[in-house]
Amino acid sequence: MATAAIEIENLTKDYPFGFLHLKKKTSLEGLTMRVEEGEVFGFLGPNGAGKTTTIKLLVGLIFPTAGTARILGKSISDISMHADIGYLPEQPYFYDYLTATELLDYFARIHDLPAQERKARVDGMLKKVGLETARKIQLRKYSKGMLQRIGVAQAILHDPKVVILDEPMSGLDPVGRREVRDVILELKQAGKTVLFSTHILSDAEMLCDRVGVIVGGKLRGVGAPDEIVGMKAQGMEVLFEYAGAAGGLQPLLSKATQTGKRYRMQVPEADLYATLQQLGSAGAKVLSVTQVKSTLEEYFMHLVEADRAQAPAVEVSGK
């Protein structure tokens, strides 16, 4: 098998706490997963699931209690690995005495970008994240969303092969979210690997080749977004307008919910065409037909609830 972009093996992180640090809380328990090169991978999970913990372990801000991880075949303890990764911290904060341009220039120097390339690169990044007009403003005057944007810029400044983003969309307005989505898609197009954590399921559904769902420090499922929710359509939803008398349509109408002239009704996939024909011949106007599938959201809720149900057990083992 080719080397994966990110390879995580049995990664575990305990946080000691209490008197003399004798007790410990397991934030991440035996995480094993792979992110292939060129893949966009979504890391999903409720608050406190261990997403940030995993990401901080990967970028070397904290150290594992057990287990290992490799990025592009290099151990995470290998400093040269850092040249190939970009990282956006959760709720990023930067030197507030610098302007956006100065901050990016500083990081570009750290990354050893040649002088003649630096200015162009910095300007390009500021443009990409929509901060050209704020480039000369000290970061202490930046809003939360602007900090998030400069955070994205510094993460991809040096053209890294693997980009790790901790909740890249948080704090952004709709335009900003869209821009970050575009950045991620652009990275994918350029063959980069992207791992990002999020609570926003629609973003994950839209962007990710695969997602991993983590709850209570344990990985609960990995797969393509549609695979993980089981693409099995649960039925078809038909929306139609009908003003006439109930008549022969009565059995159908009784199953539908009515809003004014409009009716909404779910039918099994097999009955769809028969239903449409019936509606057509009765003179109803069909407005739309959509597939009803269980969403990632439902899957997610299901996992979280399952976890809550066994929460007492988890609590005990955590102590």
Binding site: V59, S80, Y87, P92, I110, D112
Partner: protein, 258 residues
């Protein structure tokens, strides 16, 4: 190493933007007050008064900056989480520490040089005799700088494993203890056990010796300062800083950023 230099320059820039150098205004006021004082009292001791007051001010101001900014160099960045983005880049933890140390020492050097210039200016204004105190004063300023570097290293070390407040206390405590190492070494007492005296003696060698850096009296009287002492102090400060920073790096490298 190159990266430590980049971090150092940024640390210097931070100090400048945070208006650390504004303390120079305070120093200028001290020097002006000293000059006025000299006009009132002096018959032949003008230089001594100026030098003593000037060097004391340089030392105290430097110490305040070294301790208070020193303990925040890394801990503030951990608290504000500005380190996250930086440490995810190819920067080793020790490079960061060295850069932070270098940056503050650079700041202190610029600051101390400016104050020294002020001192020399004041000296030239009151100068009447033919005595040459300048060379000794210059060495005294250099020793203060060495001392400050050592204090920064200690502050940095403590801030790697404890809270800023405790770091300030420990650093100040070590500094004060370091002013009395000779006394500690030669301490004789009937009531003290032999073991304790031996312990004290060992401790007196381990503690940073700040006594040797104080040549204020010699400078004030324009006595020459022996070259041996200059070499010895330089080597001592360099070695001690290296050891302290190495320990700090060993601790910081293992540290989980919260």
């Amino acid at each position: 190493m190159r990266r430590a230099g980049i971090v150092a320059l940024n640390t210097f820039r931070e100090a400048v933007r945070d208006r650390v150098l504004y303390n120079l205004v305070f120093f200028a006021l001290v020097m002006i007050a000293a000059s006025i004082l000299v006009g009132q009292v002096s018959i032949g001791i003008e230089e001594m008064v100026i030098v003593t007051l000037g060097l004391s001010a340089i030392s105290v101001i430097g110490l305040l900056i070294a301790v208070f900014i020193g303990v925040g160099l890394v801990s503030k960045e951990m608290d504000k989480r500005t380190l996250y983005a930086l440490l995810a880049k190819p920067v080793r933890r020790w490079e960061l520490l060295l850069g932070k140390f270098g940056g503050l020492v650079l700041t202190l050097t610029v600051n101390t040089a400016a104050m020294a210039a002020g001192l020399f200016l004041a000296l030239s204004l009151v100068k009447q005799g033919t005595e040459h105190v300048e060379a000794s004063v210059l060495v005294a300023v250099y020793f203060i700088l060495l001392k400050l570097a050592l204090v920064v290293a200690l502050a940095l070390l403590f801030s790697c494993f404890t809270t800023p407040l405790l770091s300030i206390l420990y650093t100040a405590g070590l500094y004060i203890a370091g002013l009395f190492v000779t006394e500690m070494r030669n301490f004789q007492s009937e009531t003290m056990s032999r073991a304790l005296q031996t312990l004290l003696r060992w401790l007196s060698y381990l503690l940073p010796n700040f006594e040797n850096f104080d040549v204020m009296a010699a400078a004030a009287h324009g006595r020459a300062i022996p070259g041996v002492l200059i070499a010895q102090n330089s080597a001592y400060a360099a070695l001690y800083c290296a050891v302290v920073l190495t320990v700090a790096a060993a601790i910081f490298t293992r540290r989980n950023l919260k």
